[in-house]
């Protein structure tokens, strides 16, 4: 088993009066894919949004407990959130490319983080990021065209390329394939398999089959609590917790 990259300890999240996460203790291993499953509103997206402090942008959101990346607490008020988000990239449910060219979509991040000072350096970052996202061959001759003109699956891979362009350590994916067709989904899943060699990946998914295919570890959330976490194979063949079994076999949801 790989080293622990991200560690949450007694993590509680509140949206105003409503508590969204209850004492979540979860270790995420380096260069592995961890899938988070559970019914809508169970807290899995809230959890991953804690990892790059996306919840900071919600005024009524309050976080207590700890999240450590490489042993360093990220909820520290003095921590530079911009550099945290450079280390922890995110891909959302719906592809959301900037209304700019394919090239600009990728080069924007490195530019604001002070990477790629010359045109040739930026060219190299754009090419490498698109190659890592398995999109280069499809777009290399039309980098000046708008990113929004690509197909849904290509747009999502563009967003993945954009996330990896700043060379992060962690990629958070919040239902990245829910808006995609089966072929585009298969391409993203294959890509995730490749990306895990370099990055620590956390994916929220409603597809059990996808969780089985892409992840090594799976956590099941219900009503804000982490009910069970373990090796993906174990969770889907023989979970310990009855609630997990009832959820994955479709006995409630």
């Amino acid at each position: 088993m790989n080293n622990v990259k991200i560690k949450s300890k007694n993590l509680n999240v509140y949206y105003g009066e409503k508590q969204a996460l209850f004492d979540v203790n979860l270790d995420l291993n380096e260069k592995e894919v961890t899938a988070l499953i559970g019914p809508s509103g169970c807290g899995k997206s809230t959890f991953i949004r804690c990892i790059n402090r996306m919840n900071d942008v919600i005024d009524i959101c309050k976080v207590s407990g700890n999240i450590e990346i490489d042993g360093v607490e990220i909820n520290d008020k003095n921590l530079d959130v911009v550099s945290l988000r450079e280390r922890v990239g995110m891909v959302f449910q719906k592809p959301n490319p900037f209304p700019k060219s394919i090239y600009d979509n990728i080069s924007y991040g490195p530019k604001i983080h002070g990477k790629g000072e010359t045109k040739s350096e930026l060219d190299e970052i754009v090419e490498n990021s698109l190659k890592k996202a398995a999109l280069w061959e499809e777009v290399k001759d039309r980098l000046d065209e708008p990113g929004t003109g690509l197909s849904g699956g290509q747009q999502q891979r563009l967003c993945i390329a954009r996330a990896i362009s700043v060379n992060p350590e962690v990629i958070l994916m919040d239902e990245p394939c829910s808006a995609l067709d089966p072929i585009a989904t298969a391409k993203i899943e294959e890509l995730i398999d490749e990306l895990k060699k370099t990055y620590t990946i956390v994916i929220v998914t409603h597809s059990m089959a996808q969780a089985v295919r892409v992840s090594q570890k799976t956590g099941f959330f219900h009503l804000g609590k982490l009910i069970e976490v373990g090796k993906t194979e174990k969770i889907f063949k023989n979970p310990d917790n009855k609630m997990t079994q009832d959820y994955i076999t479709g006995r409630f949801g």
Binding site: M208, K237, P239, D246, G250, F252, G253
Partner: protein, 230 residues
Amino acid sequence: MSNEHTVKSYEEELRYLIDSVIKMGSLTESQLVDSMDAVIKVDKDSIDKIIKSDDEINKFRSKIDTQIMTLLVKRAPMAIDLRETISSLKISQDLERIGDLSKSNAKKVKPLPLDLPEELLGNLKRLGELVIKQLNDVLDSYVNKNYDKAKEVWEKDEQVDDLTYIAMESVIDFLSKDKKNLDFSTHLIFATKNLERAGDHITNIAESICYLIKGEYLKGSRPKGKVIQQ
């Protein structure tokens, strides 16, 4: 399964699959009982009926295969449902093989003389009764999802091995007394061996049931009785 699936038709499809395995098991058991009866009583009139009943068992096997394929495609079962589906596949395969062995034994009745000495058949009869009990017990453990009972059957196969050895010895003894017994004695030896093989399939079923219930394979190797030289 205490809770039911949210999708009612999924629940029904799984229930239907389990029922099919239970019915196939019951048919296989009847066929085994009939074929043992035919051997012991040298009842040549029942041979055709037993051979025909094997067709029914084979039809069940095909039906169960189709049900499993449909379940896998439609539902992509997980956890207990996945284990239930895969166990059905394995158990139906073993039941079909037991059916083949019963049929094979029924066919062996044809060349047997009607006046077989009782001491020759006594051990074979005891072996047959034990194998029938083992099949009955294992099917019972499947219906009631009883792990301990399935494990007991698995362990008890040692007795099947021992009785097979004894039954074989009595046939060989009989054979050695007079070489003209050679022809039908060979059939009895094969019939004995078939029962031992049926016992092995029953232990496979017991293993599948244990995996179905606990999600873990039985650890260690099964206790073995006396081994017959091939």
